[in-house]
Amino acid sequence: MNNLTQRARMQPVLGVGTGIAAFASAAIVFLILIFLLVFAWPAIRFNGSGILTGVIWNIGNQYGSSTVTHNGVTAQAGASFGGLVFVFGTIATSALAMVIAVPLSFLVAVALVYRVPRKLQPLANTLVELMAGVPSVVYGLWGIVVLVPWVGNQLGPFAQAHLSWVPLVRGETGSGNGLLAAGIILALMVLPIMVATLRDVILAQPPTIFEASMALGSTTWQAVTRAVFPSVRKGFLAAVLVALGRALGETMAVLMVCGAAINQFPSNIFQAVNTIAAVIVSQLDSALTDASGMAQRSLAELALVLFLITLVVNVVARLTLRGADRSAQ
């Protein structure tokens, strides 16, 4: 038995194995979509467009005997499954996270590549990657114990006193649980993935771009913003989209600091919000006691909405990355 025949025999096994694996990953995404569609179907009929346009979320009077029927589907009386508050919160928290994380991660990536001494780079890279490994509940705990009280008791009153001329800052600042806390937590959580992607994109550029710019007498800042940044713009966008995909679906840490708003929108960055992922987790237990089952199915419909949002973001990210690869070549 020589090595060559053994290798030849293994070839089809490997081929079939990887084929199944590749097919499975596509099939799982497809099956999740089918499951959500089938399970949420009665809710889709009951809620109509209300899931995207309605503001009131009410699983109905569970201890009353009356029910309501709409489009042939029955729920407890008073039921109203408006998801706009949660769709808004999902997008708003992620957008705020991007506003914080994008410039920060660009600076960190630039520092890692150009400013950190070569000997310290492995250590610095490891530290950034370690951030990605911290479980989200740990970020959430830090959020509850440190961040939220700081926002509520220091930053909020300060903003009320000195920054009330800024539109999205003025008004009731509440407890610190809210849009800003959720945005900061999310920014920290997506920072490592953005830094890592950006660092790799910058490193993939020929170092001559930076060096030539420096040789022409520019400062590091000028070289980075005027020479390096234009060449990594697409990779930068892709990094943002990948991070956005992660932020949209983040659950536990957001749930712990977002203030779990229901039936209302925040009027400034300090007030409570809620995201689709957080509301699914927090409402599921009560939804399970809904005799009509419509609360569970409406949560599944919200999950479907989230699934579609992240799917779109991921597809756009893929296409952008592909474009970035091509432009890099």
């Binding site: 509850i144 939220v148 509520g152 407890s175 039936n263 599921l284 237990d285 005799a291």
Partner: protein, 360 residues
């Protein structure tokens, strides 16, 4: 090497025989229950269940009970699905749910809830609050601590109540605490009954300063960190609320008296509801009559399917539940005091026994 393995095998065999013999003798002397049980549900009952199970398993070596704190709704649905034998719930099942699958709702103990607040300078005293005032706060009609409605029932602290926005904190997750709190508001305030109503999760009115917190630990933490906030917190978190130096309110009961949560006032409320408790024991104890009655108390339930397959499994379940409700069993003060629960009144123990007897 082979010799060693053989010796080990022989040893294992003898050990197996030996343990088998002891089990047989035990069964011969006294009919002993054994087998596995899964309990899941209420996170409020979870600490008590763990105390119970540790002690119960010591007395019954053959019994293995797994406990899980997953939430009351999960407990009920897994008991219905037959995944768990005991679904722990702070709320009794609704008529609509019972119509789908009739289950036994067996009270195991009595719990209560306090209204906590964090008002700088006033946490050391007991402010007076009522259902309509709380409903006003949680629906955004009463916005500051020196609102006439609050000052009116707290004349002693009229000058100390601050002109500061109240931050009402509610549970973001489904919760038995939300259930009994919203019952107190519904039973005492007609407009609340018609509006948000009652449930383990309700559609909270929009209040700009309002905030949701996750679980009782989240309620304690948020209330502690947020000056001028108010929260409803299960009595089993009494130690945590005291460590956080939160104030707790005297609540107006049905008779119009302001009462503090205490052993005597909770027991008085429970006693007042004994005769009203129906055979299936699904009843709210909130807003009980009587001058001494504390208004927010509830039965903690085991949700059990009356049809259990297998005689041994059935006997195991019945034995544990029967032990749990006994004054010298699970309802002993050495267990209940740890979580500040109260034992079932004797006539309720009798009703619960009758329900347990229905398991077949």
């Amino acid at each position: 090497m082979r010799k060693l393995a053989l010796t080990a095998l022989a040893l294992a065999l003898t050990a197996g025989c030996a343990s088998q013999t002891t089990t047989t003798t035990a069964t011969a002397t006294a009919p002993e229950v054994s087998g596995r049980l899964l309990e899941t549900g209420s996170t409020l009952l979870y600490p008590l269940m763990n105390l119970w199970v540790a002690s119960y398993q010591k007395q019954h070596a053959g019994v293995q009970i797994t406990t899980q704190g997953t939430g009351s709704g999960t407990g009920i649905s897994q008991a219905i699905a037959g995944v768990a034998q005991i679904g722990a719930s702070d709320a009794y099942m609704s008529d609509a749910q019972m119509k789908g699958t009739p289950m036994l709702n067996i009270p195991l103990a009595i719990s209560a809830q306090q209204i906590n607040y964090n008002v700088p300078g006033l946490n050391g005293v007991h402010l007076r609050l009522s259902g309509p005032v709380l409903a006003g706060i949680y629906s955004g009609k009463i916005l500051t601590w020196n609102d006439p409605a609050i000052v009116g029932i707290n004349p002693r602290y009229a000058s100390k109540l601050p002109h500061h926005t109240i931050v009402p904190i509610h549970r973001s997750d489904g919760s038995g605490d939300t259930f009994i709190f919203s019952q107190y508001l519904s039973y005492s305030t007609p407009s609340w009954a018609q509006g948000p109503g009652m449930g383990t999760t309700i559609s909270w009115p929009a209040v700009a300063s309002g905030v949701g917190a996750n679980g009782n630990p989240g309620m304690v933490e948020t209330c502690k960190n947020t000056p001028y906030s108010i929260a409803y917190i299960g009595v089993s978190f009494l130690d945590q609320t005291q460590a956080a130096h939160l104030g707790y309110a005297a609540l107006r009961n049905r008779a119009g008296a302001f009462v503090l949560p205490a052993h005597a006032t909770i027991a008085a409320a429970a006693q007042a509801m004994v005769n009203k408790t129906p055979k299936d024991e699904r009843i709210s104890l909130v807003f009980a009559p009587g001058k001494q009655s504390y208004p927010i108390i509830n039965y903690e339930y085991a949700i059990v399917n009356p049809h259990q397959t297998g005689a041994a499994a059935r006997a195991n379940l019945v034995a544990f539940l029967s032990w749990a409700i006994l004054p010298n069993g699970g309802n002993a003060s050495r267990f209940l005091d740890e979580v500040h629960f109260l034992p079932l009144p004797p006539s309720i123990v009798k009703l619960s026994k009758e329900q347990i007897a229905k398991i077949h």
